[in-house]
């Protein structure tokens, strides 16, 4: 395959069968390998769509400054796209973010503004919103509420899945910004009768939920419950176990959020086996495991790995 530039190669990722993890010849699992995107994660799709949408709507003009609360894959994807298109990118992240993360973002061209460690991601979102208000000329793309995030998946991830797997019965993805599930889910619902859209939601350690008040909670603006069939909460132990199974049994070295998704998919697969129904279950591999090596997720016992993840947003 030949492309005019790196950005033209976003998407069109392979869909591979998981013969060893599939429970029966009638209930099969398929993995969409999003680590094959230019910066190694599914976020390249959302980043490219949000930037392009901002240009179309006249929000982004040459030399513009883009602002986003993220130290994760979205930041890396945005940094790559912004550098290519000539924009300045500022990422807001908690001050205790790992050196590895800072290096990756800086390497791709992002500048970093820190929010307090104790405030977690809610605080980073709040700081970004405040900075955006102070600098009206800066453009916050805001992945949690930007329809272009979901639209990327409506226009690419969904159609690619249906083309490669016309017999699809289930789509399972992680619930973060909700963009992947909303966009892909809406596309598949319009075209596949009875499709089941399953959200796999990471369940973190207690520190992560340590808000002062229930009323300070957060739900991404993109989230629309009616797109989903159900939502399954998956803890760190199951996620780690499945992440390891993915590489041991199928040779796919994925990040921890993929283990979370695989776990939810296997719960659904088991329901189909017991009900005697055929199923083609597509799951998302969000990214590769490289960025998570330092978490200890792949070394030692599961208990040790679980202890290492305590208090971290691991997906």
């Amino acid at each position: 395959m030949r492309f005019d530039s790196l950005m033209d190669s976003v998407g069109r990722t392979p869909l591979v069968g998981l013969p060893r993890l599939s429970p029966s010849p009638d209930v099969r699992l398929w993995a969409k390998l999003e680590q094959d995107n230019p910066t190694g994660s599914i976020k390249d799709r959302a980043a490219l769509w949000m930037i392009t949408d901002g240009e179309k709507r006249g929000l982004l003009t040459p030399g513009a400054t883009v602002l986003e609360p993220t130290s994760g894959n979205t930041g890396i994807s945005l940094a790559m796209v912004c550098r290519q298109r000539g924009y300045r990118l500022i990422c807001v992240m908690p001050e205790n973010t790992s050196t590895e993360r800072r290096q990756l973002l800086t390497m791709w061209g992002a500048e970093i503004v820190y929010s307090s460690a104790t405030g977690g991601s809610n605080e980073a979102v709040a700081v970004a919103k405040r900075l955006a208000a102070e600098h009206p000329d800066w453009v916050m793309l805001y992945q949690y509420g930007n329809p272009a995030n979901a639209q990327a998946h409506y226009e690419t991830t969904g159609p690619e899945l249906l083309e490669d797997l016309p017999s699809i019965t289930h789509f399972v993805a992680g619930l973060g910004t909700t963009g992947t599930l909303m966009g892909t889910g809406r596309f598949l619902r319009e075209r596949v009768q009875g499709i089941r859209i399953i959200a796999a939601e990471p369940r973190y350690g207690e520190i992560v939920y340590g808000l002062r008040n229930i009323d300070e909670g957060f739900i991404p603006e993109l989230y629309d419950e009616s797109v989903l069939t159900t939502r399954i909460s998956v803890g760190p132990k199951e996620s780690l176990r499945r992440t390891r199974q993915m590489v041991e049994e199928e040779g796919i070295f994925a990040g921890i959020s993929t283990g979370c998704i695989l776990h939810a998919a296997l719960i659904e697969a088991d329901k189909c086996v017991r009900a005697g129904q055929r199923a083609d279950i597509a799951i998302v591999v969000c990214d590769g495991g490289w960025k998570y090596l330092s978490t200890g997720a792949y070394a030692g016992t599961l208990e040790e790995a679980e202890a290492a993840l305590e208090g971290q947003l691991w997906a």
Partner: protein
């Protein structure tokens, strides 16, 4: 036998600091009424004035979100696990320490 309910840190002021409380009931609504008789005030933090689940409260029965199981009418059976969690910005957002997407 009863149903075990996991309570998040921010709501433990209602349970005397307990992480897990037990209760009985055929539905989630009945379970909360039972628990509220021993831990008054907890139910009021989970259910909004309109009688619906609080917008920023997520409740799971055996790891499945109850909003997809009938909400407060979700059926509960002995031995089930109920988990209460506040809604937070997670997922592909910003991560402290060394991990995240």
């Amino acid at each position: 036998m009863a149903v075990q309910v996991r309570v998040p840190t921010i709501l433990r002021s209602y349970t005397g600091g307990s992480k897990v409380v037990e209760g009985v009931g055929d539905t989630l609504a009945a379970l909360f009424i039972d628990i509220d008789s021993r831990f008054p005030g907890l139910r009021g933090r989970l259910i909004a004035d309109a009688g619906e689940l609080h917008r920023f409260v997520n409740i799971y029965v055996n790891d499945e979100d109850v909003r997809f199981l009938g909400g407060l009418d979700a059926k509960i059976a002995d031995g089930d696990n109920v988990t209460i969690l506040p809604a937070v910005a997670g997922g592909c957002a910003v991560m402290p320490a060394t991990s995240g997407v």
